[in-house]
Symmetry: C2
């Protein structure tokens, strides 16, 4: 397998945590990795090769302009490495907009996909995650794009989580077909046509609601990028707030503090299961290559997970499956299909 290109300069904790994570992915998991960045700025890179890039796109830079102007940035060079057949995938914890723009401009779109979308797995306790898309790439969408998101989300759920026939729902404000905004009603109509589901092996289950996201009742949820991003950040905020409130409850008195100690490991595994680091970041689906966009605050562990996911999806031939699904032809995956955990 070609190496996974890791943007060493992107992320709040770059380059140290990123390089540590990249090295661990190579050493512990045996995944070939190449770093992209300013060689002089990097800590000890061990055995990893480095693709030199002299510029760094800041976390808060304007994405489009930066990518057009900074042709020797680590993000643009990482995307080019995939385009030029020097890397199998790219991983970045940097500026999300700039990562999307780099991937789109350098790798190009898959034929039949109007707009790439961000797919984010939402943890579901005790089950495979629910994939939400678009989680923020397109703040305004046309109804037909959501059918493309549905095709891509189904392929992703199959190749990443081994779900044979992913159940795909449309995020709305009631289960009945007539519920939602005029935009959502139009999406519902288009998604109810059987062709896309047949082309991806998916099962269309109609409208779902916000309260269904963290349940085992749905595998893929499609929505516009505005609603998706609000939903994602609402969930992140709720997790943080609830876990904070739980710590307050534990800190009530000596007895509850002792109980908190006793719960230690069980609580740790709960937090780990729900922590964004565990899902390893979002995918940009619809570009002609694997592009994993990790959280800006990514730790070394988050990078290990992101590299592993990138490698898994390369080996599962996800981009090939997306390409055939976008063209309306379904290629059954060659990866083993596991039973759904629900």
């Amino acid at each position: 397998m070609l190496p996974v290109a890791v943007d060493a300069m992107g992320g709040d904790r770059a380059p140290d945590e990123i390089v540590t994570g990249a090295r661990r992915a190579a050493e512990e998991l045996g995944i070939p990795v190449v770093l992209v960045g300013r060689p002089g700025d990097l800590p000890d890179t061990g055995d990893l090769d480095v693709i030199a890039a002299s510029e760094v796109i800041a976390m808060d830079a304007e994405p489009g302009a930066s990518v057009r102007r900074m042709k020797d940035s680590s993000l643009v060079r990482a995307a080019e490495a995939v385009r030029d057949g020097k890397a199998s995938a790219m991983v970045s914890a940097g500026n999300t907009g700039a990562a999307m723009a780099s991937a789109l401009l350098r790798m190009g779109r898959i034929k039949g996909i109007s707009r790439p979308a961000i797919a984010t797995p939402i943890p579901v306790p005790g089950h495979t995650p629910t994939t939400l898309l678009d989680a923020g790439a397109n703040s305004e969408c046309r109804p037909a794009w959501l059918v493309e998101f549905a095709r891509m989300g189904a392929v992703y759920a199959r190749d990443r989580f081994g779900i044979g026939s992913p159940r795909v729902g449309l995020l709305s404000i009631g289960e009945e077909a007539g519920k939602g905004s005029p935009f959502v009603k139009e999406c519902f109509k288009l998604l109810s046509e059987p062709e896309w589901a047949a082309a991806t092996g998916a099962e269309w289950i109609g409208n779902v609601e916000g309260r269904d996201i963290m349940t085992p009742d749905v595998d893929v949820i499609v929505t516009d990028g505005f609603t998706g991003n609000v939903t994602l950040k609402t969930l992140e905020g709720a997790m943080k707030s609830l876990i904070g409130r739980l710590l307050v409850a534990i800190d009530t008195d000596d007895r509850t503090r002792a109980a908190g100690e006793a719960l230690g490991g069980a609580l740790d595994s709960m937090v780990a299961e729900l922590h964004p680091d565990s899902t390893g970041g979002a995918m940009l689906l619809g570009v002609d290559g694997v592009c994993v966009i990790s959280h800006g605050s990514s730790s070394a562990t988050a990078i290990v997970n992101a590299v592993k996911i990138a490698a898994d999806l390369v080996q599962a031939s996800m981009v090939e499956h997306l390409t055939t699904a976008a063209a309306g032809r379904w290629t059954p995956t060659r990866a083993p299909i596991h039973k759904r955990t629900s």
Copy 2:
């Protein structure tokens, strides 16, 4: 004070839990209450008067048609009691759409308000709740309506939670003014004009994100009814999922189960703080009267809280304040203003 009219027939647990809650509100809190419903179907109503209504709008009935056709339903009669000066407010745990339609058709709109909106308080651990509106009355909105929602939300936060100068934000996908859909950008522009904030004593704080909702950083969040409803249900789902996962963590082994026992009271008060029953339901703001819409699953305790909130808002002259704020004139509240808890 005129009695609060309680729809005895609305809700998954009607009429028993509703009547129990109404009686408790009268007996324990001394709030005058009148029940509305089918006298023959009610359990012991104690000292409470009953306004007879022969029909019941089902929880899943089509709202508009039901309200137009079932003129002797408990919901329509409750709204009429407010209109006719026989009750000071209405409370229902019934069909939300039908409750909105009854209130709108019988009480009428406040002058200057294009569309009533549902305001829902979201619990913020250790702080006053964040009021979210519109939480579902209008699945598609015009930008100008969000300015009306901002006026109403500010008055509500002041009269209900005693927040002197409520901080009002617009739900978007980034803090900067340029972030969001074209609709949200247009809302941002209108909300940035100083008149509405001056007319309500509010502080406009610009865009906020989903992760800010459960923090003490904002008091009122305005959004369209589609996004608001998705957000609200996403939060409900996240709470349920996390609390379920916490119970699994506690049930790991004998040691963690003992710890869970020790945490008992502290966890109970955490769940109570975050439970929808505690906030007592949503308000329909913009109709010419107080209308509290309680959760369909409301218990007697939820009804006690809803009646108390209705009575508080009647005594705080909220409808009068909404009327002057909608007309662009600010009447400082006569209720005592507490400091924000943050």
